[in-house]
């Protein structure tokens, strides 16, 4: 997928003014938050479980080479064909090659964020092969020609009215205005495709080394269809999705559905190991898994490595005040919200997503809800530091920070300067004690709001005064 994260400021401004989107975001906001809070409470040792999950992910990353080799050996024993890809182009071309080798004309696809990264649909369609997204949310945005705005609720930016209009136009049927009827119309339209598609593509939430399996976690049943009905199944995943054992997977399943949708368990958890066995009446004849490394190994060796623990639940974005207000598209790439603000620059180059690590209030809601304890604000701070070191910010910002750092390291000068600034601030505030327009720096900040004026005395002065009185 093409990255447009550099337009974050402009796009988020327009998203804030988009009344339709704001209505949709308001509707979604809180839904996941409330249901998550409820089901997390059921686990009386939630923090202990969360720590264990974080430790398992760390352990797996520390021995990732061995786990991937173990996984591959067992997968091959079960008859899975394993491919490795070092670029988006390579993954896409392996998929097309498999399709061509098997005379595939139609593909049904279950949700995959790796597929979004590589721009798989467009590539496959470019080779004359039909691709149908089958997750309802993904189907909606495919029909609309858009990208997902959330990793587990891809069409959350669309209102029911949008979907009504879209379906009426695309399905050429009378307009429906009920979520249930719309869902069942999509079911009716997609069912024949499940039955006659030649190939199914899924992602993989996890790859389990103990058994050489891939797992998908879904609610709709399209994932089961995709892994069972077509004669060829291709699962695409990335190296960090590996897990050591079935028990480790059980641990993750206590956290993933709870953190994602606020469910105790997702409806369908399907673990696939190899193609159809001798005697099986259903299941694909061929099963391929493609494992991607774009950016992952670079992150593994960097100070951002904790981000690789991510199990893609979406809790960080659900709880993010920035995401809740601008929506997922503003982030300009596959992963929105706090995890996107880390992964987007980490995978695409820090200079291609300058605003993202700064699009945070550092409230740490994301860090608190993350089921694998990724310290998201810390990682964003590290990216900010890197931006500074690489002089990627404007001269004004760069030198302002330099100046501030100079002062912060020299308490005496700092004290004098802040005293002067506090007094100037007071004068600028006038009788209303509000600064309506900043000069030199912060002009944008005061465009839409006033700055409360300082009282004229610095914190240090007030503190010192208090201490002396004692």
């Amino acid at each position: 997928m093409e990255i447009t994260s550099q337009q974050f400021k402009a796009v988020s401004s327009s998203k804030l003014k988009d009344a339709k989107l704001q209505k949709a975001l308001k509707q979604a906001k809180g839904g996941f938050v409330v249901s998550r809070a409820k089901v997390v409470k059921e686990l009386d040792n939630f923090e202990e479980i969360r720590q264990a999950a974080s430790d398992v992910r760390d352990h797996c990353l520390a021995h990732l080479d061995s786990y991937l080799e173990e996984w591959e050996r067992r997968a091959q024993e079960a008859g899975t064909v394993v491919h490795w890809a070092e670029s988006y182009e390579e993954l896409n071309s392996i998929v097309v090659q498999i399709a061509q080798d098997n005379q595939v004309k139609k593909i049904i696809k279950s949700k995959s964020m790796v597929g979004e990264e590589t721009g798989l649909n467009q590539y496959v369609e470019g080779h004359g092969i039909e691709v149908k997204e089958t997750d309802l949310g993904e189907y909606i945005i495919q029909q609309a020609g858009e990208h997902p705005s959330h990793i587990i609720a891809p069409a959350t930016h669309k209102s029911k009215d949008d979907v009504s209009e879209l379906f009426a136009e695309k399905h050429k049927r009378p307009r429906l205005d009920d979520a249930e009827k719309l869902t069942h119309e999509a079911r009716e339209i997609l069912r024949p495709h499940f039955l006659d598609a030649d190939m199914g593509i899924t992602g993989a939430n996890f790859m389990i080394a103990e058994t050489g399996s891939t797992v998908i976690v879904t609610n709709e049943g399209n994932g089961r269809m995709t892994t069972t009905m077509p004669r060829v199944h291709v699962a695409i995943s990335s190296i960090e999705k590996c897990l050591p054992t079935l028990d480790d997977f059980a641990l993750m399943m206590r956290l993933l559905p709870r953190s994602a949708t606020g469910q105790v368990i997702s409806n369908y958890v399907s673990m696939t190991t190899g193609p159809k066995r001798a005697g099986d009446k259903d299941g694909p004849e061929k099963f391929h898994v493609i494992i991607l490394d774009v950016g992952r190994t670079r992150v593994l060796g960097s100070e951002l490595r904790d981000a690789l623990r991510c199990i893609r639940c979406g809790a960080c974005m659900n709880h993010c005040p920035v995401y809740q207000n601008v929506g997922g598209h503003a982030y300009g790439w596959v992963y929105p919200g706090p995890i996107g603000s880390v992964l987007t620059p980490a995978y695409n180059g820090i200079e291609n997503a300058i605003d993202l690590p700064n699009a945070a209030t550092m409230c740490n809601q994301c860090g608190v809800v993350c089921p694998v304890k990724i310290p998201l604000p810390d990682l964003m701070r590290k990216l900010r530091e890197k931006q500074f070191e690489k002089k990627l910010k404007s001269n004004m910002e760069h030198w302002s920070l330099r100046l501030w750092a100079y002062l912060a390291l020299r308490p005496k000068i700092y004290s004098i300067v802040t005293r002067v600034m506090a007094r100037i601030g007071r004068i600028l505030g006038g009788d209303s004690r509000r600064i309506r327009r900043m000069i030199i720096v912060g002009q944008d900040w005061t465009k839409n709001r006033d700055m409360p004026a300082p009282s004229g005395r610095t914190f240090r002065d007030i503190y010192l005064n208090k201490m002396n009185k004692r």
């Binding site: 949310g137 029911k160 049943g221 190296i239 054992t245 958890v269």
Partner: protein
């Protein structure tokens, strides 16, 4: 070098540089062999009761019978109550029960798109989450619990386990190798992709009916 070799080499050098933390320790082979369990929450309930409670929360309906001989009657009762067709596709293990006594038309085969009601057994069930566990096999068709609009599943009382961990342990002990697919099914298919409105029957069954037997 191939992509595989390049990727593995990059992982090794990244792990050397960053000295990635590992409080668990040990090698990959050791952990796979020992597959240690992680901390569990307090599970202070009785398996069968909790399983039923969870089924109810997941919108699965429930019935129970003393022996498989009573299955045709129980199935017919459910179909009548819900005004469902009397033509059923089932796993072959159930095909020879006395279905004709209840005027039910039962076919033991893999399901196809036109089938409206599917009857399956289950390998085991999980009380913690109200989940049915199905292993695919020669006569355990994955399609039967997937394509029909109504899925009726028979669960043996003695195989209602506590947790997913226990299900994995049973699979390790009872099967030589994992089957092509292990499916954990928890209630009817659902989605909330349109304005967070919960709708049943997204792509899989609209209804799941669980019959507990001895």
């Amino acid at each position: 070098m191939s992509a595989r070799e390049n990727i593995l080499a990059r992982i090794r050098s990244a792990n050397k540089v960053a000295k990635n933390p590992d409080v668990i320790g040990g090698t990959a082979v050791d952990r796979i062999k020992a597959h240690p369990s992680s901390p569990l929450p307090t599970l202070d309930w009785e398996n069968e009761n909790h399983f039923k409670l969870r089924c109810h929360e997941l919108a699965s309906s429930l019935d129970q019978i003393d022996s498989l001989d009573h299955l045709p009657k129980a199935v017919n009762r459910y179909l009548n109550e819900n005004d469902l067709p009397k033509k059923i596709v089932c796993w072959p293990e159930f095909a020879d029960l006395n279905w004709s006594d209840e005027n039910l038309q039962m076919e033991g085969r893999s399901a196809v798109g036109e089938d409206k009601v599917g009857l399956t057994g289950s390998y085991c069930a999980i009380a913690e989450t109200g989940t049915l566990v199905m292993l695919s096999g020669e006569d355990q068709h994955a399609t039967t619990s997937l394509l029909p609009e109504t899925h009726i599943a028979v669960v043996s009382r003695s195989r209602i386990l506590r947790t997913m961990e226990e299900a994995w342990e049973l699979i390790r002990n009872e099967t030589e190798s994992v089957p092509r697919q292990v499916n954990f099914i928890s209630g009817p298919s659902r989605t909330a992709d349109i304005e967070m409105t919960l709708v049943y029957g997204a792509h899989g069954p609209y209804r799941v009916h669980v019959i507990i037997t001895e």
